[in-house]
């Protein structure tokens, strides 16, 4: 694959596509910071028109790209941070895949934006919701179109932060806040893994260009040794596993359902959960260079799909059930990517994103109409029960049920293996610090000193 000359119409259209949500974010964000939120009658139409403009621009860009068939293009908008070497270049890597995913993102975000306008009518956090939605759309577009590691990382972080803050949208509920913290904890692992891959890429290849990972241009992953390619690919897989809730990081997914339904739809039904798959799809040339990592990705996908398919059957609320159903498909998409069926994987991704969006958005209406439907959702057909009964013994079924009910014991395992040892050792060091002060003075801090006194 070689990089073609960037065409001017494409450059302008992509700029409009990304710039429109950025402008929306700026307007809503500034109003929020100065505590003068725009009234609902302005926010809704503003968000809808911004998404519509972005969507139109990106679809036209996709059409122009299809007509001109210019090959992968690196659209450069200059160096942003400095005129010296080492500045962050604003670059978008444009091809059929990136433009299609960006366009899909704006379509879904537009639908959710229009839906949310009514769904969150007179909600206290209405304005906050749209600020975070705009932040998310900007992040998704940057992930989709990123031409270098810095831009990709910016997008990745924006998606993560907006996701966690939307999980904590009803922030007076302690459970929502605690779950948001869980979600962001896993996302930070994802961010760290992605950034580590970037650091390693820069160290071994001397560049942060994604053309090297994604196979665009003269530079290609073959420029990396197999060991380096494998390590970078493994780090990317960790980042993807955290973002897309693959095993063993799946436990945050049901916790993320605390947010408002439209945000659950756009994040965990359609876009955010597929961001990892998209990244894996983009990095397919790198995976081809690293067969061990590819195999691992495939296995992760398959195990996740199986686990999610079982778990979704015993969930007692519709959103968790849908979330695990999404995860099943995400696992399958990862398997498709690992096998090398890239086109099928993207079609699967796009179709599933739209279908699940519809399911999530219609879930509240269904629940509103039929109280108690949640229970009915878990009452699966007799055919299902029959198949499971045939395949498993009573004891195995009971164990399977317990595992599914406890969501694979992932939360408690994570607590036991990671969180508790971390807390224990950090507390030990904290006590050591206090002891150091006492040892220096050979005395103890007087009791009852609380420090909250007159300060300047």
């Amino acid at each position: 694959m070689t990089l073609g000359m960037p065409s001017i119409p494409l450059t302008v259209l992509v700029l409009i596509g990304v710039g429109s949500p950025v402008l929306l974010l700026a307007v809503l964000g500034v109003a929020s910071v100065v505590n003068r939120p725009l009234p609902e009658r302005w926010t809704g139409p503003l968000a809808a028109s911004s998404m519509a403009l972005a969507c139109a621009a990106l679809f036209v860009a996709l059409t122009v790209y299809g007509i001109t068939s210019a090959g992968t293009q690196l659209l450069s908008y200059g160096t942003w941070s400095t005129s010296h070497d080492g500045g962050i270049a604003i670059e978008f890597l444009v091809d059929r895949l990136s433009l299609a995913f960006a366009a899909l993102s704006t379509v879904i975000a537009g639908v959710v934006s229009a839906f949310s306008n009514r769904y969150l009518h007179r909600e206290a956090g209405y304005n906050r919701y749209f600020v975070l939605l705009a932040l998310f759309v900007v992040g998704m577009l940057l992930v989709a179109l990123a031409g270098n590691v810095a831009v990709l990382f910016i997008g990745w972080e924006l998606v993560g932060l907006s996701s966690a803050l939307l999980v904590a949208f009803f922030h007076e509920r302690p459970a929502a806040v605690a779950n948001a913290f869980r979600v962001i904890s896993v996302y930070r692992i994802s961010d760290a893994a992605l950034l580590s891959a970037a650091v390693l890429l820069r160290h071994v290849a001397g560049t942060g260009s994604l053309a090297l990972l994604f196979g665009g241009g003269a530079a290609s992953p073959t420029a990396l040794t197999t060991t380096n390619a494998t390590i970078i690919a493994l780090l990317l897989i960790v980042a993807v596993a955290c973002k897309s809730a693959l095993l063993p990081f799946s436990s945050w997914l049901p916790r993320a359902m605390e947010g408002p339904t439209p945000s659950s739809a756009v994040y965990y039904g359609s876009l955010s959960i597929h961001a990892g798959c998209f990244l894996l799809l983009r990095a397919a040339p790198l995976l081809e260079q690293a067969p061990a990592a590819r195999l691992l990705a495939g296995m992760l996908g398959a195990v996740t799909a199986l686990f999610a398919a079982i778990t979704t059957r015993v969930q007692s609320d519709v959103k968790s059930s849908l979330a695990y159903a999404s995860l099943t498909q995400v696992g399958l998409i990862v398997v498709e990517i690992a096998i090398g069926w890239y086109t099928i994987a993207f079609i699967h991704l796009a179709g599933h994103a739209c279908f699940r969006l519809l399911q999530f958005l219609s879930a509240p209406n269904v629940l509103h109409d039929l109280h108690g439907l949640e229970e009915a959702m878990t009452d699966h057909s007799a055919a299902d029960r029959g198949m499971v009964t045939v395949l498993t013994s009573d004891r195995a079924r009971r164990r399977l049920f317990l595992i599914a009910l406890e969501r694979g014991f992932l939360d408690s395992t994570l607590d036991r293996v990671v969180v508790e040892p971390f807390n224990r050792s950090a507390r030990l060091f904290a006590r050591l610090d206090e002891w150091l002060c006492g040892a220096v003075l050979t005395s103890r801090r007087p009791a009852g000193v609380d420090g909250a006194d007159r300060d300047e």
Binding site: N35, S81, H84, G86, E172, P174, S196, V440, E456
Partner: protein
């Protein structure tokens, strides 16, 4: 008005005026208004010096304390210090504008003005002797803020750590001044003395225990004003970086990186908001130190940028904690305090400043950390990974604090008649700080370019010294330079 001396005199006179007036029988509120006005004027004057090429090329040199040919600059404004002047003024403005009325008396206002004056004077000199004198006064000012009996223990902790630091600094300076020191073993010993002094002052592991103690049980306001400008980093930059051996710089950078991860990890598990602030400060200031001790132009520029962004963001974050404490008392992180609806500006500012601390995209910190990683990755790859881990942990610590301090439903609800929201003065100060951090993060080019120029200049000076050292070593070994 092109005389830099006039502008510098004006800068120094403004906090001086506040100190003088504080000795008169003036009410606290008018004195605060004077302090706020002076801080704004100082900020504007400092910004004019920063952007004016003619004003930022000024130096007053003397040979009184050094054997260097041409002497050393006792007072100077150059590319490095030009951006530090508005930084010092901004920290003063933040302090006097948002400190709660009940918490600030005349002595406090005097102390803040004096601390600002010392910081400003420190940033304007490259003389080791002058820096030593200023360091002594600065430590004394900080100790005087802890003189009440309730803080006796913390005062002793600070006195021990900073006392040893100052003694080492004095020993280093004593070894450094005098003829024929350059490129000798005496200079190396002096460097180690000053290096350890700087590490103690900045709270780098293993010399760090005083920092969380003072933040937690001492007085947070003076602790912020003493630590946020990071004079220890300035000492390192002016005295150590040009002279120290690569091995020494690498050791300092490794200690700093360890501290960055250590501070971030411990901030994450704290139950006290103040102590968490202390560890966050340790982590952030260590990142600055790591960048400064990396001999790459890009990493050094990143370090200089993180210095400004983390300093401002951290000071703002800690001030938010103080503002909340004034309304709620001591803040415990094991519970949810709620209050987003009452103080949305404070909540958003807290989050924005916390994210700026962690180098989140869209803030000035992001550009700094990006440059730090980018520049260090070739010469010092471990730095890249350490920055990544520290940044991830710091981000979690900040979000945990945000969730605890502003989310959830408070157990005890205040009576609706109580006005617990922000005062306009506080709100506008926080909004201005957030605007500065995000604005400079979105349009960072002039500031980043100036940091690149400063780091190139610093490394040029270092290169000259290293070349002369190699030359003198060769001469000692009997090798004559080839013509």
């Amino acid at each position: 008005m092109n005389d830099a001396r006039l502008w510098l005199a004006g800068l120094v006179a403004l906090p001086g005026l506040v100190i003088l007036v504080s000795f008169l029988r003036v009410e606290v509120e008018p004195l605060r208004r004077l302090a706020v006005t002076s801080a704004i004027a100082m900020l504007l004057a400092a910004l004019i010096i920063t952007v004016s090429p003619t004003l930022r090329e000024f130096s007053m040199r003397t040979s009184a304390f050094t054997s260097m040919s041409g002497g050393e600059a006792v007072v100077r404004v150059d590319t490095l210090s030009a951006a530090l002047l508005p930084f010092a003024a901004g920290l003063w403005l933040l302090t006097v504008a948002v400190t709660p009325r009940a918490s600030l008396d005349r002595r406090g206002l005097r102390r803040t003005a004096l601390a600002t004056l010392i910081t400003l004077a420190s940033f304007l000199t490259e003389s080791a002797v002058v820096l030593l004198v200023l360091s002594l006064v600065s430590v004394w000012t900080f100790l005087s803020a802890l003189e009440d009996p309730a803080h006796r223990y913390q005062r002793r902790v600070v006195a021990v750590y900073l006392g040893v630091s100052t003694l080492l600094f004095a020993a280093g300076v004593a070894l450094l001044v005098g003829p024929g020191v350059r490129n000798t073993a005496r200079e190396t010993v002096a460097m180690w003395c000053i290096g350890i002094a700087a590490l103690m002052r900045k709270g780098i592991v293993p010399f760090h225990a005083w920092v969380p103690e003072v933040f937690d049980y001492g007085r947070l306001g003076p602790a912020i004003l003493f630590n946020a400008p990071q004079v220890g980093a300035y000492m390192t930059l002016v005295l150590i970086v040009p002279r120290a051996s690569p091995d020494m710089l690498r050791l300092i950078a490794l200690l700093a990186l360890g501290t960055a991860v250590y501070g971030a990890a411990l901030a994450l598990i704290q139950t006290s908001a103040r102590r968490a602030c202390g560890y966050l400060f340790m982590s952030q200031s260590a990142l600055v130190m790591a960048g400064l001790d990396c001999t790459s132009v890009t990493a050094l520029a990143g370090g200089l940028l993180v210095w400004l962004s983390a300093g401002l963001a951290f000071a703002g974050l800690a001030r938010c904690v103080l503002v909340l404490e004034a309304r709620r008392g001591r803040l415990d992180l094991t519970t949810y305090h709620g209050g987003y609806e009452r103080m949305p500006v404070l909540a958003i500012s807290f989050l924005a400043m916390g994210l700026a601390c962690t180098g989140f995209p869209g803030t000035l910190g992001f550009v700094g950390e990006e440059l730090l990683v980018d520049g260090a990755v070739d010469v010092f790859p471990v730095m890249g990974f350490a920055v990544v881990i520290a940044s991830a942990l710091t981000g979690l610590a900040v979000l945990r604090m945000y969730f605890s301090l502003f989310c959830g439903r408070p157990e005890v609800r205040a009576h609706p008649s109580l006005r617990l929201g922000l005062r306009p003065r506080e709100a506008w100060t926080f909004v201005a700080l957030v605007t500065a951090l995000i604005g400079l993060g979105l349009l960072p080019r002039p500031l980043v370019d100036s940091r690149f120029d400063a780091s190139e200049e610093i490394l040029r000076v270092r290169q000259e010294r290293v070349s002369s050292r190699l030359l003198s070593t060769d001469l000692r070994n009997g090798i004559r330079p080839q013509r």
